[in-house]
């Protein structure tokens, strides 16, 4: 049951202040408890509880056959998860960093994504692959990437990116319950607090952010449904993950009445929310941290121009990372921060 459909409104459910790591841990805890077929595996996820602590305490609570460490073999992890899914389990493998997911690509693209289709529904791969992604943590080129577009391009995969602890919990529960393979990218820059894009200002925690009010117990947010972060009339921002918070702060500081849409799920995308907003504002800014060429922003721009062209008053703007590997010392030069977003907003506002 989704929150939207729930007879109990969120305000009535008791909430706790959680950061995104705690919210993810809470979701995993709840699903391990509810469904004996859920298993969690990955590098260092067992006794240690994961390098980001997302699985802390879960092995102790549910035992070693439910939550366990794996060899350093992402292809093996995903391949084993496909076999477990065929048996009837519901594996939730963790890939320690999205940057390490590539050895598992063949098992994701050729196997998990196509198993239902090629077997005409005889076998399915109901797995949720969790992976921290994105930069801004001085992770260098191997701990900073945002490879979501590689997965949105694959027929049969769903791709989800939460931007708040509240959403992370509800979306992760929905992903685990989903009978299709889901890539669940966790923006690690906002694990501990909503990053506003100003790397030279003090970091914030989740403490004062409404998105950290996380209802206790079980709830799920439907995949394929966007969230309107802020209603506005001047322009539409399409973004997800960390960039939601950066966009929010930049547009607030510029005093622009923007409508910000958190896509939450990239495939399947909530096209109605996108169309409705762009038809209202007539201007569209697409933001992602990933490299530019063939990024998911290209898909968004294409969708908007195909479906909302006659409402557009300005060319669609894309703000993205540059087409370079993520540089270590110059990561803030790569990051699509306030200056890059600000320029694009100015161009949009000046047009039309």
């Amino acid at each position: 049951m989704s929150v939207e459909e729930s007879p109990v409104s969120l305000s009535e459910a008791p909430t706790r202040r959680l950061n995104m790591i705690e919210a993810i841990n809470d979701a995993l805890d709840i699903m391990l408890e509810r469904d004996p077929n859920v298993v969690i595996m990955g590098e260092d996820v067992g006794y240690f509880g994961g390098v980001f602590r997302c699985t802390a305490g879960l092995q102790e609570k549910y035992g070693k056959t439910r939550v366990f460490d794996t060899p350093i073999s992402e292809g093996g992890i995903i391949g084993v998860a496909v076999g477990m899914g065929a048996y009837g389990l519901r594996p939730v493998p963790e890939i320690q960093f999205a940057d390490y997911i590539y050895p598992g690509l063949d098992q994701l693209v050729s196997e998990a994504a196509r198993l239902r289709y090629r077997s005409a529904g005889e076998f399915i791969a109901p797995m949720t692959v969790r992976a921290p992604f994105g930069g801004g943590i001085f992770g260098g080129q191997t701990h900073s990437q945002s490879p979501e577009a590689l997965f949105t391009h694959v027929a049969g995969l769903k791709t989800v990116v939460p931007s708040t602890p509240h959403d992370a919990k509800g979306l992760l529960i929905a992903a685990i319950e989903d009978n299709d393979p889901v890539i669940f990218f966790e923006p690690k820059r906002i694990y501990n607090g909503p990053f506003d894009g100003y790397y030279d200002r003090p970091a914030k925690t989740w403490e004062h952010h409404p998105g950290s009010e996380v209802p206790e117990g079980y709830y799920s947010l439907p995949l394929g449904k966007a969230r309107i972060v802020r209603e506005g009339a001047a322009l539409t921002v399409l973004a997800y993950g960390t960039m939601i918070h950066v966009a929010e702060s930049v547009l607030a500081e510029k005093g622009v009445d923007a409508e910000i849409i958190d896509l939450r799920t990239l495939v399947p995308i909530d096209i109605e929310a996108v169309e409705k907003s762009v038809e209202k504002t007539g201007k569209c800014l697409v933001i992602h941290e990933a490299t530019r060429t063939s990024g998911f922003g290209a898909e968004l721009a294409a969708l908007v121009q195909e479906r909302c062209f006659y409402h557009l008053e300005a060319p669609i703007e894309r703000v993205t990372g540059f087409d370079t590997p993520y540089p270590h010392s110059l990561e803030w030069a790569y990051f699509p921060g306030p200056v890059r977003i600000g320029e694009a907003v100015d161009r949009l506002l000046a047009a039309g």
Binding site: P71, G156, D180, I271
Partner: protein, 433 residues
């Protein structure tokens, strides 16, 4: 940027320059073939360790070759599974049926009834005898040449042909290349076409079975060529780490399309020998000896089922025909290889064994061959009523968009509408199917 010198290495004392070694098979088209370099041990001489032994106790068997049928067609030695004549006759019949099926489907492809086919001629024992040694509800993760397992388990031949013809009765809705079967109710996992991907999946299924306290084990199949894939190694690692109840059957049929087994490392070590480095039991078996194959798989199955862990079995055999209907082996190997192959033919060997036992005769064999050929012919005719590839009797059009996801998302709904529109433009009288 500065240009790099073409060759920067300086002579180092008396050391010769480095040389790159590229493997080359012994024989090419037209060559005389001499297999005297192949060590073929006598049948019955290989020790049979306890099924609960430590993995490294199987080390001698990784370089040896388990053989049961001797030169006089008798079953000898500790690996003789002592099967009763009725079981042997059933095994023979399934192998003969598999061969007859292959022959008919190969011809069907040549007649344009389908796009593609793959025979398993000469390798029938590696799947049929293995299937006889497993429980019917053990889960198999096949590669693309294990049709013998489906036939051994009694999967209806008509379902196989419907799939090969991609017709309206094809359970896979015409989505898969011919022979890429899926048969969940027969414990037969969906065949991928990408190589070795099924092995970590088999390990994962086995881990799941163990974690649930089940009694079923998993068995995967892979060619020797595909053992070079990373998935082979991750599968063995996972199986070893979690002591998974799984059997890896590596069918060493000497060829990966045109590349001989040397390109998978066969010149350096046997494929069975890889097992020991992972801490897995390894067996090397005469893949053309159905009794030896049965005995080896039975040993591994008993071992897995009693929580003693995984086994890698190298089935040493020969791909008697081309890789597929798209392949012409006369372009790269000597035709004499098949004629001279020192391990003979699995169907003939089992036939002679049964005759030696006094349980079979030339006449009954000929009668069986006629029977299985007739059976396949009749089923193929029946299947043709459901259509052959490209003749219009396919699955309803809209099924193309189903099963990408459990539910149809909006973008696939839109694309399905477009596909229907295109079809109506092309075929104005289309009935919507």
């Amino acid at each position: 940027m500065a240009e790099r010198p073409a060759r920067s290495g300086k002579p180092r004392g008396n050391l010769p320059p480095l040389e790159l070694y590229v493997p080359e098979p012994r024989y090419r088209p037209g060559d005389e073939v001499d297999y005297s370099h192949l060590a073929i041990p006598d049948a019955g001489k290989q020790p049979r360790p306890d099924e609960a032994c430590k993995p490294d106790e199987t080390w001698p068997l990784c370089g040896d070759m388990i053989r049961v049928l001797d030169g006089e067609h008798r079953a000898v030695g500790p690996w003789d599974p002592k099967l009763d004549p009725e079981t042997l006759r059933r095994m023979l019949r399934v192998m003969a049926l598999t061969r007859a099926f292959d022959d008919r489907m190969y011809r069907a492809q040549r007649q344009g009834k389908t796009s593609f086919y793959m025979k398993c001629t000469g390798e029938e024992a590696t799947s049929v005898a293995s299937a006889f040694a497993l429980a019917d509800d053990d889960m198999v993760f096949p590669s693309y040449r294990q049709q013998g397992i489906l036939i051994a388990r009694g999967y209806p031949l008509i379902e196989m042909i419907n799939q090969i013809y991609s017709n309206r009765a094809d359970k896979l809705k015409g989505r898969q290349l011919p022979i890429m079967y899926s048969a969940r109710d027969f414990g037969f996992f969906s065949i991928s076409g990408n190589l070795s991907t099924q092995l970590p999946q088999a390990a994962g299924w086995a881990m799941a079975s163990a974690s649930k306290g089940d009694t079923r084990i998993a068995a995967g199949w892979v060619g020797e060529g595909a053992s070079a894939e990373g998935d082979f190694h991750s599968a063995l690692t996972f199986a070893a780490v979690y002591n998974a109840p799984v059997i890896f059957n590596l069918v060493n049929n000497q060829y990966a399309i045109s590349s001989f087994s040397g390109f998978a490392g066969a010149e350096r070590a046997t494929f069975a020998a890889r097992a020991i480095g992972y801490g897995i039991a390894g067996l090397r078996v005469d893949g053309n000896d159905p009794l030896a194959v049965f005995a080896a798989v039975q040993w591994a199955a008993n071992r897995a089922r009693s929580n003693m862990g995984p086994t890698l079995i190298e089935h040493f055999t020969y791909r008697a025909e081309g890789h597929s209907t798209s392949d012409d082996p006369s372009a790269y190997r000597s035709a004499h290889e098949r004629e001279e192959w020192p391990l003979g033919d699995p169907v003939m060997r089992l036939k002679r064994h049964l005759i030696a036992l006094g349980e079979w005769s030339k006449e009954t064999h000929e009668e069986m061959d006629r029977d299985v050929a007739e059976e396949v012919k009749a089923v193929a005719k029946e299947a043709e009523k459901n259509g052959i590839l490209g003749h219009g009797l396919h699955h309803p059009f809209h099924t193309m968009f189903e099963d990408v996801f459990e539910d149809l998302p909006w973008h696939l709904e839109e694309q399905a509408e477009q596909a229907v529109r295109e079809r109506r433009i092309k075929w104005p009288d289309w009935d919507g199917q």
